[in-house]
C-alpha cells in the first residue's frame, strides 16, 4: 500500500479505482504468470510434448532401424546422441521414448481421473451409508502397497504398452476418488447450491453447472502431479523387465539399457536420463504452480 491509496478520489472518478471482476481461472492465470518456476514448467512440458509428437517424423532414422556396422557410435553429426549396441540412432529413440513415456503418464492419469471422478462423485453425492461404505472400501485398498500389484498385474498381463496403461490406470485412482468426494461433499453444503435448488434448478444442472466446475482445480492439480508419478513407475517397471516390449522404447527402457553399458558408453545413459529428469522437473514445477494458483485453500492465505 502506498500513500496514494489513502487519497480521497474525486466524485465521478469512481472508474479510476474500478477493478474488473475476475473469474477463478483468470486469477489463477495471473498468479501462474508471476511464478517463474511454473512458467518454466509450462515451457518444458510444451517443448517435450512437441518433440514427442513431431520429433520422430523429422528424423531420417526410425526407432527400430538397426545398423550393426555403426553400433555404439559416439555422438556425431550423423547421430546426434550416438547409437546403441544394435546401431540404432539414440536421438530418435529418445524422442520416441518421450512419446511412449508421456503417453503412459497421460493415459494412465486420465484413466485414474475417470475412475476417481465417477467413484468419488457417486460417494459424495449419495452421502450417508453409501458414502461410508464406498469410502471404507477405498480405505481398505489404501492399505495395499499398489506398486506390488502393478508388478503382479504386469506379470499376469505380459509386458506391453496397453497393459501398462491399464495396470497403472486401475491402481492409482484412490487419491482422486478421495479428493473429488471431499470436494463434492463440501460443495453440497454451500449456500449457492441451496439457492440454486430453491430456484428449482434440476439436480443434473446443479451438478454440471455448479459443482463440477468447482472441482476442476483440484482435479487438474492432482492430474498434473500424477503424470510424473506414472512416468516414474513405468521407468521402474522397465528396469525390472516389465516395461514395453522391444523394439519399442520408453525412457525407462533406454535408461536401464544405458546403465548396463554405462562403463564403456556413458552417453547411452546420459541422454535418456537427462530427458527423463528434465521432464519430471517440468511436470513438478507445473503441478506446484497450478496448486498455488488453483487451490482455493491457498487463496485464503493469500500469496506468501
Amino acid at each position: 500500500m502506498t500513500e496514494r491509496d489513502f487519497e480521497p478520489i474525486a466524485i465521478g472518478d469512481i472508474e479510476s479505482i474500478y477493478v474488473p471482476p475476475q473469474t477463478l481461472r483468470q486469477r489463477g492465470w495471473q498468479q501462474m504468470k508471476q511464478n517463474r518456476l511454473a512458467i518454466a514448467g509450462i515451457v518444458i512440458v510444451t517443448i517435450m510434448t512437441l518433440l514427442a509428437v513431431v520429433g520422430p517424423w523429422l528424423c531420417p532414422y526410425t526407432y527400430a532401424e538397426q545398423n550393426l556396422a555403426d553400433a555404439n557410435a559416439y555422438p556425431s553429426a550423423a547421430h546426434w546422441f550416438g547409437t546403441d549396441s544394435l546401431g540404432r540412432d539414440l536421438f530418435v529413440r529418445v524422442l520416441y521414448g518421450a512419446r511412449i513415456s508421456l503417453s503412459i503418464g497421460l493415459v494412465a492419469s486420465l484413466i485414474n481421473v475417470c475412475i476417481g471422478m465417477v467413484y468419488g462423485g457417486i460417494a459424495g453425492l449419495a452421502g450417508g451409508k453409501t458414502d461410508r461404505f464406498m469410502m471404507h472400501i477405498v480405505d481398505i485398498l489404501y492399505a495395499i502397497p499398489m506398486l506390488l500389484y502393478v508388478i503382479l498385474l504386469m506379470v499376469v498381463f505380459k509386458p506391453g504398452l496397453v497393459n501398462i496403461y491399464i495396470a497403472l490406470g486401475i491402481a492409482y485412482w484412490l487419491n482422486m476418488a478421495r479428493i473429488v468426494r471431499g470436494q463434492i461433499l463440501s460443495l453440497k453444503e454451500q449456500d449457492y447450491v441451496l439457492a440454486a435448488r430453491s430456484c428449482g434448478t434440476s439436480s443434473w444442472h446443479i451438478l454440471t453447472r455448479h459443482m463440477l466446475p468447482n472441482c476442476v482445480g483440484p482435479i487438474i492439480v492432482t492430474l498434473t502431479l500424477s503424470i510424473p508419478d506414472a512416468i516414474f513407475t513405468e521407468a521402474f517397471l522397465s528396469f525390472i523387465g516389465l516395461g514395453v516390449s522391444a523394439p519399442m522404447a520408453s525412457w525407462g527402457v533406454l535408461t536401464s539399457e544405458g546403465i548396463s553399458s554405462m562403463r564403456s558408453f556413458p552417453f547411452q545413459l546420459i541422454f535418456p536420463a537427462v530427458a527423463l529428469c528434465i521432464t519430471m522437473l517440468g511436470f513438478m514445477f507445473l503441478g506446484d504452480g497450478l496448486r498455488d494458483a488453483l487451490d482455493p485453500q491457498n487463496q485464503k492465505e493469500g500469496s506468501r
Binding site: M135, I151, L152, F232, I240, R263, M280
Partner: protein, 310 residues
C-alpha cells in the same frame, strides 16, 4: 483404546485376507502353469511334478490349501529352486534388506529433518535455495540413475568405495545413499513447509517474546508440531524403501530380498512372487498400524477413540 487397537488389528487381518485372495487368483489367471517351458517336459514327468505341487487339484481346493498354510505363515515351496521354500528364501535374504532399509530410513529422516529445519529457519536465503534445489533434484531423479552416478563417481572415477556386494560397512554407504535420496528430499520439503506453518503461529511469538533462544525455539517448540506430517509419511516411506530396494539391490548386487524378488519376476517363479508380495504387504500394513499407534503420543490432540477421517 484397547477396543480401537483390536478393531485396527481386525481390519488388518481382513486386508491381509483380501491381499492373499487377490494375489492367489491373479497368479492363477496366468495362462500356462509354472512348468510350461520352451523345452517341453515329457507328459509323465509333468504330471508327477504337478501332482507333487497339488496343481491338479480343483482351484477352490488349492486356494483353501494356500490360505490354510498362509495362516500359519507357510508360503509354500519355490518352483524354480527345488527343495527351497519361500520361507527359507525370506529368512535368508530379508535380514540384509532390513539392514539396508533401516540405515536408509534413519538417514532419510535425520538428514531430511535437519535440512528442512535449516531451510525453514533461513527462509529465502542461499541456504534455503540450495536445499530446495537439492530436494527438487532428489525428487525428480529416479533412484537407479542416482545409483549409476554414485557408482561412476565413487567406484571408478575416484575408487574409494566398493561398487557391489555386501561385505561390510563400506559396502553399505552407496546403496544407502541411493536408496535414501528420494525420501530425504521428500521429508525435507515436508519439514520445511510444516515448520514454516508452525513458525507463523501465535505460540511461537509468545515463546520468542519470553526470550526463548533460537535453537530451543526450533527444536522444542516448532519441531514437535512439525513432526506430525513427517510421521504420517513414514508408512509410505517404508513402502518406498521397499520398492526402491528392488532396484538398488539389483544394481549393487546385494543378496537381499528385493533383488530376489526381481530375479523371481525374471524367472516367473510364481510361488516366490506370490509369497514375497504377501510378505511385503504384511510388513507395510504392520508399519502403518504401528504409526497410527504412535501418533497420539506425539500429538495429544489426536485421540484414538475417535474414528479418523470421514
Amino acid at each position: 483404546m484397547v477396543l480401537y487397537v483390536l478393531k485396527r488389528i481386525g481390519g488388518a487381518v481382513v486386508v491381509l485376507w483380501a491381499i492373499v485372495t487377490i494375489t492367489f487368483f491373479l497368479m492363477h489367471a496366468i495362462p500356462g502353469g509354472p512348468f510350461t517351458q520352451e523345452k517341453k517336459l515329457p507328459p509323465a514327468v509333468l504330471a508327477t511334478v504337478e501332482a507333487r505341487y497339488h496343481l491338479n487339484d480343483p482351484l477352490a481346493e488349492q486356494y483353501a490349501d494356500y490360505l490354510k498354510h498362509a495362516a500359519v505363515l507357510d508360503l509354500g515351496p519355490s518352483y524354480k529352486y527345488p527343495g527351497k521354500t519361500v520361507n527359507a528364501i525370506i529368512k535368508e535374504t530379508f535380514p540384509v534388506s532390513a539392514q539396508l532399509g533401516a540405515i536408509s530410513l534413519f538417514l532419510a529422516i535425520g538428514a531430511g529433518l535437519i535440512a528442512g529445519m535449516l531451510a525453514a529457519w533461513r527462509k529465502n536465503s542461499w541456504v534455503d535455495y540450495t536445499m530446495m534445489i537439492g530436494a527438487t533434484l532428489g525428487v525428480s531423479v529416479p533412484s537407479f540413475i542416482i545409483a549409476a552416478i554414485l557408482i561412476q563417481l565413487f567406484a571408478f572415477t575416484w575408487p574409494v568405495l566398493p561398487a557391489a556386494m555386501w561385505k561390510g560397512p563400506a559396502y553399505m554407504i552407496m546403496p544407502a545413499l541411493a536408496l535414501a535420496a528420494h525420501p530425504t528430499a521428500f521429508i525435507m520439503r515436508l519439514t520445511r513447509s510444516s515448520i514454516l506453518d508452525v513458525l507463523a503461529q501465535d505460540y511461537i511469538k509468545t515463546a520468542k517474546s519470553r526470550g526463548v533462544g533460537t535453537t530451543a525455539l526450533l527444536c522444542r517448540h516448532a519441531l514437535r508440531n512439525a513432526l506430525l506430517p513427517v510421521v504420517s509419511y513414514i508408512g509410505p516411506l517404508a513402502a518406498a524403501l521397499l520398492t526402491g530396494s528392488f532396484i538398488v539391490e539389483s544394481i549393487f548386487s546385494i543378496p537381499g530380498l528385493g533383488r530376489h524378488f526381481v530375479t523371481s519376476i525374471y524367472n516367473r517363479d510364481y510361488t516366490v512372487i506370490l509369497g514375497i508380495t504377501i510378505f511385503y504387504s504384511f510388513l507395510i500394513i504392520f508399519m502403518n498400524l504401528i504409526i497410527d499407534m504412535i501418533y497420539p503420543l506425539l500429538d495429544p490432540r489426536i485421540s484414538l477413540k475417535k474414528d479418523k477421517g470421514v
